[in-house]
Every structure is written in structure tokens, then in C-alpha cells.
Amino acid sequence: MTASAPRPMTGRQRILAALRREPVDRTPVCNPTSVATVELMDLVDAPFPDANRNPELMARLAATGYTELGFDSVMPVFSIIQESSALGCKIQWEQKDNWPTVRMREPIWRDADDVRVPNDFLTHPDTRCVLDAIGILRRELGEEVAIIGKTMGPWSLGYHCFGVETFLLMSLDDPGRTKLCLDRLKEATIRFGLAQIEAGADALTLPDHATGDLVSGEYYERFLKDLHAEFAERLPIPLILHICGRTVDRMGYIAETGMAAFHFDSKNTPDESMEAVRDRIALVGNINNPETLYARDPEAVRAEVFKNLAAGVQLVGPECAIPLQTAIENLVEIPRAVREWHASHAHPHAG
């Protein structure tokens, strides 16, 4: 970065600059996936499952990412099922202490010819809810903080609509049909993404679970790399690809998609990940959820934040949707640790 550190930035400016790998006054703290917890739900009286279905509650719970935790971004989509619900999947909405999920045992489609994005896709209550919540957040938080939306990629939508095992077997038996499914499903990704941009989102998380725990890196190249590049072209705000699990073997491909950032999991170290992407894409991550944020103390959180900062990771945050029982104490330690680190390191990383 340039010798003179930029003057104090708002959270929004900081996030957007870091996503462009431009100079920042300090590394932003970013949550591309949910930071909702039971404690936060109680604090603002916006519990699951209602906070996933009512825009006021959704916005109120999302705002706590900024007001209570001090992150530089807010993220109103706490689950991965809003658009699957609009596509026709059956949803188990669960209770306050668990995320809603798709009943993948009752798949809605069997073949590429079944894939159809319904006409009411964007007016369905569960997609509408996200759009309205983004509108509320934009009005209430103004330009202070970055609003990150979320639109699911076609691979993850395929899991939901066909069932994971059926979809994965199809990818092996008939790669051509699988590509056709993905190509048809991508319209859902793009339409929901564009609608969120119009509603006021500053950036979009795009989860597409082609993880090393399930499929090879070569699979990512074969089925998804070009589609992800197409998303980067057709959705005109910064995109943050999210794939949890082991991904270092495919980060080289991911870096070539033109997406702004990749949200990476702690199964990949910050150093090896920075090395793999070689400054072609920004990285967001990778504080461990189950072992650190959920089960340990602020000290352990701080150590992981420092490890990311030392490696030059551009945006710091939890690796994936944080466990709902995570203590606020551990979450507020993330921005605190970032500030502390910058106080003793004069020049923050530009990119």
C-alpha cells in the first residue's frame, strides 16, 4: 500500500476497499455467512425461526452484527434455504436453537428437464423476506456498514432440489445432464442476486458447496469454474464465494474466476491459502467455528485473528455460519483483536 494510511473509513468503505484489494485504514471484520446466535436473538427479541421469515425480525437480528459485535458488515441471510423454499423444496423451519433446513429426503426434481425457476420466485415470501430485510437495513444503517446479501450457487441448489447423493451420482453418471441442470439453475442464482443488488446490497456471498470433503478439485474446474466466472460478470457488485471444508487444492481455479473474494475454512491455513491464490482474489476468513469460537475463549480467538493478519488475509471473520450457541464474548474479540494488532503494526495490509 501507499506510505500514507488512508484516513478513518466507515465499515462499508473498509469492506468494499478490501474486496477490491485496495488500501484500508485497518483490516475489516466481515461476516459473509451468519453470525446469528441465541444470545443475540434474545437481546433484540428476534428469535429463529421467525427471524428467517419476517423481514423486520431478520433485519433486527442482522443489525446486531454491527451494533453488538462491531463487525464492519451485516448479513441478513442466516440460512441457506430461502431460495430453495421459493423453488418448491419442503423446509423444516426448526426452533430457536437450530437452523432451518431443506428436507432433502423428499427431492422435488429428478432430471434436468424438471429444473424450472417458478414465475413467483422473487415474490415468494421467503425470497421477498430477504429483499425487504436488505431494504430495511439500508434505510436504518445508511452508509455506515456494508450490507452483504447471499445468493446460493447452482451446485448447492442442486443438492437441495435433487438430494445430495442423487445429485453427486448424476455428476458421475452423466456430466452432460449435470451441466445442463447447473446451467438452468444458475438463473435462480442470478435473479436472486440482481434483486438483492436492487434492494441495496453492497456485496453478495455466493455459497456453492463443492468442497474437498465431498468432491475433487478437478470437479470444481470441470463443473463450476466457468459458471462462477459468469456470475462475476453478470452480477455487478463484489462477489464472495463461500465453500467450507478443505479447498486449498481448488483455490488456484477459484482465484481465476474474477470473483472479488473467497471465504475460506480453517481446514486450510491462512499461509497456504494466501500462497495458493497469489493475490488474484481477496481472502475472507478463517476463524474456526466449532473448536475456537464455540468452545474456547477470547484468547484463542485473538491468536487466530493474529495468524490471519500476519498472513495478509484481507478480511477477517468466522469461517462459516457460526454455531448458534457461540458466546458474544468470543465474537466481539474479533474486531478488538484486529484493532489491537493494527495498533502495533503501523501499516495495515493493502492487499
Binding site: E165, L169, D213
Partner: protein, 249 residues
């Protein structure tokens, strides 16, 4: 001691040479395939390659040639699945490939099972498996089930989102000596402990061994909640099941 060159089938020789690294596993597989008939090796290859059509055809052929169903299962189908499990553990293959291998094994087992049950051949053991309440992750659990079946166990699969009383009912109904629980979420992991308590409350804890697994679960956590064992992957699950039921490895 048998050597690689003693194995008739070139594909099996190549699989062992290329993908196996642990001396005990190399030794065990060489010993197995060096003594099996060429047709059993071909069945194993059909499983390894995920070729369900070939597996179906070769299994029927073997039965017509008078090979005993038990031999086809042990030397052909289970033998092949053993190599599949190792390749998955070592990241040479991934979930889609394992699913295809399991599907071909199933195509062969479809001919074997009716014969074995008509003859009253007992499975190695009966295991009840399920993902705990509130959790819908089942890929790992399903892989464990495939490997357990691949090792000759009879498995009752309760699916996902399984409440303690459903686990209890299934164990009682099938008289299963072993229960396996899977959890992938920190929010649902405590439901394993709750299920174990439910077994204690029902006075059934001493009748059943309980094993647990899933990415966030650790040996320490398993010990804390009073499980009898923890397995970190599908092969460990099979080894643990054998150990808990006192079956020779």
C-alpha cells in the same frame, strides 16, 4: 508370505501398488487377493470401478458356476469395498465415486442376500445407525453404513433427525447390540449425550454398545458423554464396530 505377483488380476495388483501405503493394509489385501479365485477378483474390480452392470453380471455368473454366496460376498464384494474405503480415506477418490462403488456392491448383494437369509446365515452383527435430532447431515453416516454393510454387518438406518426414543425403539425392536450416532453440528452434538441418558433412564444402557462420530466429535467428547467408542472415519467405524462386538478384524 504371499506377494503382489501372486495376485492374478492386473487391476487389483495395480490398485494395491498405487493406492495402499500402510504395511498392514498392503499385507492384508495381498494375502486376501492372492488366495481368491480370478472371478472373485473381477467382482472386486467391478466394485472398485463402480461398475454396477458388471457387478450384477459377474455375481450372477459366479452363482451359476456354483461359487458359494458367502465366498462371493467376502472375497469379491467386501474385498473390493475394503480398497474403496482406503482410497476414500486417503483422498484418492471422493464421495461421488464412493457412492458409485456402494451402488455396484448393492447390485451384487441383491443376488447374495436372499440366498444367505434363506440359508439362515447370520450377519456379522446388527447395528442401528442414525443422525441425531435436529441434524440433517447424512453423507458421512451413509458412508459408514455402506462400509459396515460392506464388511458384512446388517444395518438398520434410521436416517436423519432421529429422536432418543426412536433410537431406543429401533434397538429394542431389532435386538441390536450396537448403536451408532452421527452429528455434524455443534448445536446437535449434545443430543448424543441426551440419547445416551435416555438409554440409561430406560434401563437399557447395559444392553447396547454405543459409538459416535461426525466431524466435530472427538474422542474426548465421546468419553465425556459416556459413549463406548469414537471413530474418525468410515473405516474406523467398521474397526470400532468389530471391536465393540468382539468380532475378529
Amino acid at each position: 508370505m504371499a506377494e503382489l505377483a501372486d495376485i492374478a488380476n492386473a487391476t487389483i495388483r495395480q490398485e494395491i501398488a498405487e493406492y495402499l501405503d500402510r504395511p498392514v493394509e498392503i499385507e492384508r489385501n495381498i494375502a486376501l487377493f492372492a488366495r481368491t479365485r480370478p472371478l472373485m477378483q473381477e467382482i472386486a474390480v467391478a466394485v472398485i470401478e463402480g461398475d454396477q452392470v458388471a457387478c450384477d453380471r459377474l455375481t450372477r455368473q459366479a452363482l451359476e458356476e456354483g461359487v458359494h454366496a458367502l465366498e462371493i460376498m467376502d472375497d469379491g464384494l467386501i474385498g473390493g469395498m475394503g480398497i474403496v474405503g482406503i482410497k476414500f480415506r486417503e483422498n484418492f477418490i471422493f464421495v461421488p465415486e464412493v457412492l458409485a462403488c456402494a451402488r455396484s456392491m448393492k447390485a451384487g448383494m441383491a443376488h447374495i442376500e436372499p440366498i444367505l437369509s434363506a440359508a439362515g446365515v447370520e450377519p456379522v452383527g446388527t447395528v442401528v445407525m442414525g443422525t441425531v435430532k435436529g441434524d440433517l447431515h447424512d453423507i458421512g453416516k451413509n458412508l459408514c453404513i455402506m462400509m459396515l454393510r460392506g464388511a458384512g454387518f446388517s444395518v438398520i438406518d434410521l436416517g436423519v433427525d432421529t429422536a432418543p426414543d426412536q433410537f431406543i425403539a429401533a434397538v429394542e425392536e431389532h435386538g441390536a447390540p450396537l448403536l451408532g450416532m452421527s452429528a455434524l453440528l455443534t448445536t446437535t452434538m449434545p443430543n448424543m449425550g441426551r440419547t445416551i441418558e435416555a438409554f440409561i433412564d430406560a434401563g437399557l444402557r447395559d444392553d447396547v454398545k454405543i459409538m459416535v462420530g461426525g466431524a466435530p466429535v472427538t474422542q474426548e467428547f465421546a468419553d465425556d458423554m459416556g459413549a463406548d467408542g469414537y471413530g474418525k472415519d468410515a473405516l474406523a467405524c467398521v474397526a470400532l464396530a468389530k471391536q465393540l462386538l468382539g468380532v475378529a478384524a
